[in-house]
Point group: D2
Chain length 360, copies 4
């Protein structure tokens, strides 16, 4: 019932704090025989890595992943998974613990400081400890393994909105996503966001973002009704990412404003199962994939770490003010993109194995 | 890994189909010694029961729950939980299987028919079988037990929007919720909704809805980071309800449009832990409750069953048209209210026990 | 984390007490499309049914199982599993609650009375409540479903020893097992046991027994190292049966007295994988099946319910004496045979699905 | 459903192979605030460490454990658990991979080689890979953490029998256990075992052993009927240890040869709950602890690695002979003692938290 694990058959457990010696993940349930190497995982960590532009935290972490178990070099010289647990480790390099002395005494508003203290009574306050977004590097590494399990699926996430300024879908160009520091598929929006995020950064403020993720190639039939539904698992996966406050599948809240006719996804004969005229459902019906693209939308709140002092209380319950001195992202949603992709991969890998195990 | 179970320590498993002889739930992990009786559960089932107004399906189900195990009448004549599994059963009375003959041959668009067939290859098509919203009666019954575990918490859900028409929070009156067939806290909105829903009903159409749920009295410290977070569990719980396509905690997607300053929840000294100046976070930080009200918002799509014929395909892959002849809710979100409340209770009961087990 | 559930992918949850209105099981994870009917399950319940000879309890229970969900009659008129939870219910008919009035006040030695009170503080004392061997009927019913999942496997259990008197393997005849009230494969031993058990019965005493179970047809490769090993799961499954105090795989404790050479299971080329010269390992190596017969041996203590008064204490902690007035088995191991078979089937079904889900 | 994890609330996951760079465990669910340090864990690893006498394998591993997460030095300078996952790592130092070249081609009888290949189709054959007893170092490390959770319990294991030669309980002296290389509480038996094990070692043979483990101080009420029973969990924990073939609770198989009167554990008024006249039950009734010492007995087969060539088959199915060249324990049961203790601690820690979470 491990609360630091996620998944059923393809299951990962993460460990580590922002300012400990290392962080990592143990991936259990990966099928044997898959070609794997650090180089299969590193690119996803690189995409998430901090300090790559002025729009993200300046903490410098190489985020080099090491595979400590679960792989073996076969006679053909290719390293492959063996079906045993894959232990992934990433060393923490650039911790500056001195930045967090104030946080030992008082609770940062919007952060998990008070909640952790209420739960545990004792906490590693350096950089948020376990609640730091640094932990998401472990998920991204685990997600790199998950992608190997679902080679039939293509996962693409991008930022669709920053500070209330949305992309224009008419400008959508997947090739643009890697060309700007915002994972933005609309080059015009990317330009506007430079101003928005830079302004927030200079003011010591922060802005929120919306990330969309589309998985194509998911066959019909993945999902485990009624309490392991594909959409419910995706909702948990995404809502569990740091700073996320909302999750939508397909049309999401907009569907609540449609009529049954407007929301219908009519079917026609297709080449491989039915062809659909629309995808309001976001590729999932009754908790099971329909063969259409799986579409998820995730809302990230603005980073809670801001320079404007906020009223708060000390551990002793006295009034004080606090502002956050450390290095932080002015828009935490940006680096959420590789994390959202990783969680999508992890959920799909799990459901692929579940489907294989239960049926037929 | 049971996919028809939900929860960790307080865990329920549901069974049953729309047109089988009965449906039910087994609740495992309920602490012993709690006074319980069918009368503690029945009111919640009555609230969800179909056929009570012209705005819901006309299927007539008494939905009388029976407790088959896990309780015992002590020497004081009070029936109490014994700590062993509580088996709850509800008989199906008003099945009309003949309504569903067409569905055996072709897939209803927007329904789970095709997805279930892709997954299982064999399905009980009568009334949607297991994917029918009838199953939610089992959750509501289990939720009635869960409420006994968290007597310190008050759970209130209501419809905040139907067909795109939202309530005016200035008119909010909790006492009104039971006075109209829409669980609407705004009497003016309730009047408007009569027209909206009646129009949809008469046209054989349907409309979507948004349900809000607020839990007050949740102490700080409930939640299990990082993969059993309170918000992630609530997201899974709500997204797993039939017809739900979106979940928000606190400000949800609106938070993505705020700055860090606007989204802050400053703290001041309070009588029992900090007092908060705002609740953008919806009572949860870092996946753990903060002591503020826990606020969830849930989007229900319009009922997929509509009278307008829709293009679809047969099991053999040929083009056809289908409209839904059975009895259905013109706005499935309305009867979602007791289900949302039940899922809130079930998640909170589980996290209360988890908190008790792991800490101190 | 449900503690009243067993299994991972093929998972069942039982509910019910000795003197409640009914008992039952919910089987989750059964693959779809398997032909099933009450008649596929009933024979196993009949084998376990009490009151069939003077050597078992005289409680008269028809133990008629009802399938309440998860099956559907296809167009060919055959009822099949649908992949959704299968709810099985057995009504309790012959409860005589008046027999247990003493037990409300004092703890029966050897029974779970005191332990349950220490754990729960409140208990259904009638017939042992949840701790009664009556619950094993639910397992046997669930096991009937499990057998349908592993048709390639033949499971055979029998009593190999009663009151210290063992069968002679030279006399072993599987066809004899059904010809005596002891599930005894050695007709000579069966005759001796009549005397042994009858003597115990008349004296109000009881005797222990050893049950052996052999599963043939299990292919190599089932098992999930390292903490879901096939032998570890079998050990848990068997040790969890009422009155069981020991479990052996293959040679068990006798292997501890062998040398490495004596204990070796040499392999030679075979038709379908290796052929083995011996099976000291009981068909499992490293927690994974080897293709040889899976062999388990289970020790049942003598029934704790005896007529000789035993010193004990009341709930208030005062000294008293107690003897058991109810109807009981003089040798509870006998009726353990169908339960051991059921648990074997349940574990194997689970591991078959696990193997299918994780590999390839 | 992670198959490389064990436990429910107090749960650990192990990773690593015999010849990989490192092995380790992630411990999840440890309560916060417990004083902890590498020095709290290291002594148990030292007890299990190979190469300490001529009676165990000569592989030289320092087995230094590192804590990588989940602890924090509080203001009082004491490192304490924070309630977050505790990552434990042990580097592999003395791998000699060249010893295992034969094993790549053919299956060692009695080992998991063939079974792993049947399951995974691809394996790390060096030193048995994941199936090596080396992995038990991870369990022992995790067990060191578990002990901190149950300070009220004293756990003592010892070898009670080697090669069929049992200790004399009249000679039992707990203080002697650390005075010989066999964890033997009977100094006379220890002397005899020197001859037995040395003879086996010189002959390239091996002998089996029985390990007993007694946990005193376990309060009444721990255990989770019916499928998380304390005895069932102990059975799984012990049967899952490498080379184990049998598990007994209390009198075990001997109980099957007693009458109900002989097997009774009569109770009398005691100072803290009932006092018992005997402990045939081994401290567990109905799957729940009774307050008496919890007694487990575990049978270890003789090490399968022997110098006498055995008939076996190659991966291609051809006949061959194999003997084991690597460094091995002539009696693997000896070093099983710290592993049995660790598993006892791990099961008890889990049940303590479970009891706390579910009741009251």
């Amino acid at each position: 019932m491990s609360v630091n694990s996620f998944g059923r058959l393809f299951r990962f457990t993460t460990w580590g704090e922002s300012h400990g010696p290392a962080i990592g993940a143990v991936v259990d349930g990966c099928p044997p025989g898959l070609a794997i190497d650090e180089s299969a995982i590193q690119p996803f960590l690189d995409a998430r890595r901090p300090g790559q532009s002025k729009f993200t935290t300046q903490r410098q972490e190489p985020d080099q992943v090491r595979i400590l178990s679960g792989v073996f070099e076969g006679q053909d010289g290719v390293r492959r998974t063996t079906g045993t647990p894959i232990s992934l480790m990433i060393e923490n390099v650039d911790q500056r613990s001195k930045d967090y002395s104030d946080v030992a005494k008082a609770y940062r508003p919007g952060h998990a400081d008070y909640a952790y203290d209420a739960k545990y009574g004792f906490r590693d306050y350096r950089g948020g400890g376990r609640s730091s977004a640094r932990e998401t590097a472990s998920r991204v590494a685990a997600g790199g393994v998950a992608r190997l399990v679902v080679p039939e699926v293509t996962i693409l996430a991008y930022v669709s909105e920053i500070g209330g300024d949305a992309i224009n879908m008419a400008n959508f160009d997947a090739a643009e996503i890697g060309n700007n520091p915002f994972f933005c598929p609309d080059p015009e929006a990317a330009k506007r966001w430079e101003t928005i995020v830079d302004k927030a950064r200079k003011a010591g403020s922060s802005v929120g973002a919306v990330v969309e993720c589309v998985a194509t190639g998911v066959p019909a039939g993945w999902g485990a009704p009624l309490y392991g539904k594909l959409d419910a698992d995706l909702a948990a996966a995404m809502m569990g990412i740091n700073a996320v406050k909302g999750v939508e599948i397909g049309d999401g809240f907009a569907a609540a404003r449609l009529t049954g006719e407007q929301n219908a996804d009519p079917m026609r004969p297709g080449t491989n199962g039915p062809a659909f005229d629309a995808n309001h459902a976001g590729g999932i019906a009754g908790g099971i994939s329909t063969g259409q693209p799986v579409v998820v939308r995730v809302a990230f709140k603005p980073t809670s770490s801001i320079l404007t002092p906020q009223p708060t209380v000390t551990r002793e319950g006295e009034a004080t003010e606090l502002f956050t001195k450390g290095r932080h992202d002015p828009c935490v949603g940006i680096r959420g993109v590789p994390v959202v992709e990783a969680m999508m991969a992890l959920v799909l890998a799990d459901h692929k194995l579940l489907h294989r195990g239960q049926c037929g």
